[in-house]
């Protein structure tokens, strides 16, 4: 093989591998688009049971309950309209996980329609909000204002 040919073969192989990696990545990433769900999306078009996804929304006020085992908790995640998805989580909740604040639950949708979370992402500190939840606070504030002003009228 001539030197020039060898270089051509090498360049071609490298290009094929890297473009292959790129295509594979893009293909896999397209599936990632259905990795994150809002409650309304999860109700309208639920993921396959058992598929690892994330569910993001607000923890409904008054919905948080702990099982007798002391470590399993149940709560409702609400979205923009009145859609609610029940979530079950066993573990130590993040420090800033409270009712009425945003949460991203990582886990799988169970056959009974309960989202079984194996990890919760809440606000990590003053600076960090899960990216999916940015901007959701405003909406929630508006919604809560609506709810709390009903009695005043």
């Amino acid at each position: 093989m001539k030197a020039k040919h060898q270089r051509l073969v090498l360049v071609t192989l490298a290009l094929v591998a890297i473009i292959g990696a790129g295509l594979l990545a893009v293909y896999a990433l397209r599936n990632q688009a259905s990795y994150f769900y809002l409650p309304e999306q999860m109700l309208a078009d639920p993921p396959q049971p058992g598929q690892a996804v994330r569910l993001g929304g607000m923890v409904e006020v008054g919905s948080l309950k702990t099982d007798p085992d002391g470590v399993t908790m149940h709560f409702m995640v609400t979205g923009k309209d009145d859609s609610r998805v029940p979530v079950r989580f066993s573990g130590i909740a993040p420090d800033l996980f409270v009712e009425g604040s945003g949460v991203v639950a990582e886990g799988k949708l169970g056959a009974d329609g309960t989202f079984v979370a194996d990890n919760l992402l809440a606000k990590h500190d003053e600076n960090y909000v899960p990216r999916e939840l940015e901007g959701m606070n405003e909406h929630q504030a508006a919604k809560m204002a609506e709810e709390t002003t009903v009695g005043l009228k």
Binding site: M1, A3, K4, Q6, R7, L10, L13, A14, A17, I18, G20, A21, G22, L24, A25, V26, A28, L29, Q32, A33, Y35, F36, A52, R54, T66, D69, G70, V71, S90, G91, I92, A93, D95, L96, V104, E106, N119, H124, D125, E126, N127, Y128, V129, P130, R131, E132, E134
Partner: protein, 651 residues
């Protein structure tokens, strides 16, 4: 006065960087020597000294807590321990940028002082390229992030340092990564210099290699330390989250690893010329992309950083300028770089090319996965890309790379037959097969960890095979470096696979005095008490842990609350044994008085970080070996020249 001196030194350094650029440009255009060209080396040396002076001034200001300086007032406090005052100098945006440019200028000074192997014109072009890159960062500092800015009225007290950063390990973590990034900028300048003069030779690769090795060692240490910090500080029990900030340091590491291997092909065998140049450009581009992602605030991450969109755009502009310029130059010049030596597929070069292509593919996967959320965001779709993407897609390329890694170091340069290494290949294959069968029979291990265990054993054994039949004291240091680094990869791989495959977890709510178990451990919660530190309060659990019925060890995990700035952290407690770690986190108290405990037994998890350190040690050995043999060679050349002179004098 000190702040003004620092600022003046910075302006002068910037002027010298501009001189380097102009003189280098003229020297490159003129065919012969120009008078200006003689100024390039001295300019680089003085520039290095001035940048160091500016940085020393900043450290001084922090050490004495000069509160008339804005940066000090915003990031320090008079009551802080001295070591954190000093670390505070680079624990912020402006200071870390000054650190970046100082390291870069010092590197330039060092090249100007010691590097004599390259043709003088390539050297001048390299220093000119360095001038261009530094100039961008000087402009950034002087026009948008002046670290020496004074306050109109001195502050009465400083605002303190983020409590998460008041940790010795973390104080030295960013400089470590930065040294890596900056080392790659030197490799970039070399690549540009060589492109300008079209002198891509094995001498060039030998001159560039120590810089790549050094950068790679620092990146390796930085990534390893960052992973361990996230593991014990976040309290999630994980060691890699595919967080954008982690990816920002992984991407330059992948590129530097590829560059290291291709530079060594170029140095030893004079092949892969254009490819090495290309990787030199890509590696530095990745460190710029990393800086951009971390500093621009374009994405949030669990590692909180100060963010400022204006700075983001500045770095983006620099990024476009440098990478665009270098790629343009590459496109114009690549075809004029002459052919290198040839080799066959089954050869050391062939294996290294394979490694390079696979590393580049993994780099592409990580880069796309990291940037994808930014792209979809532009179309108002929020996406998170996590382990379900990175792990399997990355493994498609990592697994074949690791397989080839078991054979590559055994092959000869240029041309070899696989039959020659038949016995070694058979041994490694048999071991991997045995591991696969054994682990799949013993425990229910999922595919990736299973492959990891088998490959870890295969790579581990294969990595020491190059030493067989050799007198160990005669093996060159650089070869030891390769052996140790490859063995480190195997060790880390075994740690990762073992952690994913064999970790056991216990989550329980227990009364004080109650006992529970996790893996071979018996755990008793002896009490929970409030404790207070200098700037935090915490609930501290007292946990007695017995391994396999042995003596109890008491550990104290905490849930800590800081008040300025208000922040909560989980202080996990660890017991490290030779065969793994117990990891304990204390949670909330239930209404009936029980406390939540989260416990993990992670067999051999520490191998992950020991492996990382071994990889770095391998790099250090190779670096020392290369530098020593260079010095020796220089000495021999000098002696030969002297002898020739003597003989001439005699005749």
């Amino acid at each position: 006065m000190i702040a003004e001196l620092g600022l003046a030194a910075l302006w002068l350094a910037a002027a010298l960087a501009a001189l380097q650029l102009v003189a280098g440009f003229l020297a490159a255009r003129a065919d012969g020597e120009t008078e200006l060209a003689a100024l390039i080396r001295p300019a680089a040396v003085v520039q290095g000294a001035l940048a160091a002076v500016a940085f020393a001034m900043l450290i001084w200001l922090f050490a004495i807590t000069d509160l008339s300086v804005k940066l000090v007032a915003a990031n320090s406090h008079s009551m802080k321990p001295l070591v954190f005052k000093i670390a505070g100098a680079w624990g912020n945006h402006e200071g870390s940028m000054l650190l970046w440019v100082t390291v870069m200028a010092l590197a330039g000074a060092l090249i100007a002082l010691v590097e004599r192997r390259l043709p003088e014109r390539t050297m001048q072009a390299t220093l000119a390229a360095q001038g261009v890159v530094s100039l961008g960062f000087y402009a950034f500092l002087l026009f948008s992030s002046n670290p020496f800015e004074r306050l109109p009225i001195p502050a009465a007290e400083g605002q303190g340092l983020n409590p998460l950063l008041q940790d010795l390990g973390l104080a030295f973590h960013p400089p470590t990564l930065y040294l890596g990034y900056v080392g790659l900028s030197v490799a970039f300048s070399f690549a540009v210099g060589a492109l300008i003069t079209r002198q891509v030779t094995s001498e060039f690769a030998r001159a560039m290699r120590p810089w790549v090795l050094g950068a790679w060692v620092f990146l390796t240490i930085g990534i390893t330390a960052g992973s361990y910090w996230a593991y014990y500080e976040l309290g999630w029990g994980g060691w890699w989250f595919w967080d954008p900030v982690e990816n920002a340091s992984l991407m330059p590491w992948l590129a530097a690893t590829a560059l290291l291997h291709s530079a060594s092909v170029l140095a030893s065998r004079d092949a892969l010329r254009t490819w090495t140049i290309m990787l030199g450009v890509v590696a530095f581009s990745m460190s710029m992309v990393g800086t951009f992602l971390v500093r621009s605030g374009i994405l949030t991450s669990v590692h909180a950083f100060a963010v400022d969109p204006e700075r983001g755009s500045f770095i983006l502009a620099l990024l476009a300028l440098y990478i665009g310029g270098a790629l343009l130059l590459f496109a114009l010049r690549a075809s004029t770089i002459s052919e290198g030596e040839r080799f066959t597929v089954a050869s050391r070069e062939g294996a290294l090319v394979f490694n390079n292509v696979m590393l580049s593919a993994i780099l592409a996967i990580v880069l796309l996965g990291t940037l994808y959320p930014l792209v979809t965001e532009a179309f108002d779709v929020r996406v998170s890309v996590g382990p379900p993407y990175f792990n399997p897609v990355g493994a498609i390329f990592a697994v074949p790379m690791l397989v080839v890694m078991t054979v590559g170091p055994l092959l000869r340069w240029r041309q070899d037959r696989l039959e020659r290494v038949r016995n070694e290949v058979a041994l490694v294959a048999a071991l991997m097969l045995a591991a696969l069968v054994l682990f799949s029979l013993l425990a229910s291990v999922s595919l990736l960890p299973l492959l990891g265990l088998a490959l870890g054993i295969g790579v581990g054994v294969a990595s020491i095979l190059p030493l067989r039949g050799r007198k160990l004291t005669r093996v060159p240091l650089a070869t030891w470096g390769m052996v140790v680094a490859h063995f480190g990869i195997a060790v880390a791989l075994l740690g990762m696979a073992s952690e994913s495959a064999f970790s056991t977890e216990r989550l329980a709510a227990v009364q004080v005095g109650e006992a529970t178990t996790v893996g071979p451990w018996a755990i008793t919660l002896e009490g929970v008490e409030p404790v207070a530190g200098p700037n935090w309060t915490a609930l501290e659990g007292r946990i007695a842990a017995r391994y396999d019925g042995g003596e109890p060890t008491v550990i104290d995990p905490q849930a800590r609350s800081f008040w300025a700035p208000p922040q909560q952290t989980t202080e996990s407690a660890l017991i490290t044994r030779w065969n793994g770690q117990l990891y304990a986190v204390v949670g909330d108290q239930a209404t009936d008085g029980r406390w939540q405990l989260r416990l993990w037994w992670k067999p051999f998890v520490t191998l992950i970080w020991y492996g990382g350190l071994l990889v770095a040690l391998g790099g250090v050995l190779a670096l020392v070996g290369r530098v020593l043999s260079d010095l020796k060679r220089r000495h021999v050349v000098k002696r030969m020249a002297e002898r020739r002179k003597e003989q001439e004098a005699l005749s």
